[in-house]
Assembly symmetry: C2
Homo-oligomer: 301 residues x 2
């Protein structure tokens, strides 16, 4: 009989570990039932490209039609040509900075409206369906199962906080304040009683990856998680943090090994010299590795 | 007949404005029902001194007993002698920095345990009752009334986020992630699989006052409030921001005019040359001014 909360999960080690954790969670102080989920590659599909990058390029293309001068900037030219070798050679941080500058002066509402529209209507070129439908059904079930067991559920993403929180409630049941990501700076001004809050082109604080995910979980959420799910090296610290406290805990790693239903690709941890597949890191670290191919009976709703 | 949700409020303009706002809130998109409350002087008593300052001095005194060398540092000496003229002359930012350094290396849990203990057991020297009982009952009723009308309720404080969130759930029904305040930096390290997260002595980002409250509300909570309550110049931008969006809104200013039951003091906005009582700012800005003396039948539970 399939698990009541997790009908899209096949029997196996992963489901058994999740069921055991849910059963054990009744012994956890309700205030400490905190679960964090990475987003790209953990809740939604990140191949063939991050939805946020697809959004930025889409917006850039529209803006460059209205203002052809944008084509002259090297970062934009590389993106508009789809020349990802040039993007690499310019450097991802510099390209990301250029993209952030596209939205200088936008209000949070304007940015949210555009990103919501894109996520709902933009089509993933690999899966040929809207980005909003490239969400892993088994992970939605897991979010619900955790909430049914009294957990507060949060999204902790390397992506832009404002991009994800515009859709986090409708996609994941997580309110805007439950999204911890990479933040943009804002500028507030009040001219004769007309208050205005506008995006700048600068990041606020540090990018939300690796150890910074742990720091930002404390700063933003204020509680240590006992459950964490991720799929890449940028999630390793967060998962280790979640599983090394007192009491029952669970760390989940999604292994993208399903070329048929999604994409097969290996994430790697470490430096160029000491790289190690993230699945191996997970196995030796006590994480529960979830095989998309074997552990999920259904991938998308 | 007293208001069902607000039995500690006397009939008058303030109660009428609150009731009208609650009635009108059914027309607000549930996702936009967002209410923010300042803490010091709005939810809990800030006289004769901020509870957080009392906590820091209490901890300092304990530490100085164990380590008398602490008495040598000018900032600590001024605080331990209660010499607030010296504190002023050294400068509040420098003294605050010295106090933050007392907790370098603490985990979030250690800091929370100490601050919880102090707030529950430490006694307000003016009111002769524990700080945890110097909470305004009418404001607790207002928090509940807003939640009963579908509002998400948050605390937006100039104080330390970690100090307030340690007690925000038990005192206000606001979970840790619902507290936006001034943040401390953390350092994460993982030594041979033993992850550790420790406080540093540095602030993270900017102090949460004035325009920064508006910026941090967007960054941390991700939604514009349509209700804001405060009591000082540091809340003016937040209140103006809340009441200048579309649709029904309400801005509340607590006027501390009750020398008998609490303390009578006037907060002032502006520079030395153009100072203006905050009550006057509120009246000309369309805020609802709440007189503790007249609008509240009961102040503390």
């Amino acid at each position: 009989m399939p698990n009541k909360y997790l009908p899209s999960w096949n029997p196996g080690e992963a489901l058994t570990a999740i069921e055991a954790f849910l059963a054990a969670s009744s012994s956890i102080d309700p205030h400490k039932r905190v679960a964090v989920f990475d987003n790209d590659g953990t809740l939604w599909c990140e191949k063939p490209l991050y939805p946020q990058l697809a959004f930025f390029v889409h917006e850039l293309a529209g803006m460059a039609k209205a203002d052809p001068a944008l084509n002259e900037r090297v970062e934009y030219a590389a993106l508009l040509k789809g020349d990802f070798a040039a993007v690499e050679s310019i450097g991802v941080p510099q390209v990301a900075q250029a993209l952030a500058e596209l939205f200088i002066g936008f209000s949070a509402e304007e940015f949210a409206a555009r990103s919501q529209q894109f996520i709902r209507a933009g089509v993933n070129p690999l899966l040929k369906r809207p980005f909003a439908e490239c969400i892993y059904l088994p992970m939605l079930e897991l979010l619900e199962a955790l909430r049914a067991h009294g957990f507060a559920t949060f999204v902790v993403t390397g992506g832009g906080t404002e991009f994800v929180r515009g859709v986090s409630h409708e996609l994941y049941g997580v309110p805007p304040e439950g999204v911890v990501g990479t933040l943009i700076s804002y500028e507030y001004s009040d001219i004769d009683g007309a208050p205005v809050l506008r995006r700048t082109g600068q990041m606020s604080g540090t990018a939300n990856e690796g150890a910074e995910k742990v720091v930002h979980i404390q700063q933003h959420l204020g509680r240590r998680p006992c459950f964490a799910a991720g799929n890449s090296a940028g999630d390793a610290d967060m998962i280790n943090w979640a599983i090394s406290g007192d009491g029952p805990s669970l760390g989940i790693l999604i292994d993208h090994d399903d070329a048929e239903r999604e994409a097969a690709y290996a994430s790697v941890a470490g430096t160029f010299e000491t790289s190690e597949p993230i699945v191996d890191v997970g196995l030796r670290s006590g994480w529960t590795v979830v095989s998309m191919a074997h552990d999920w009976s259904t991938v998308f709703a």
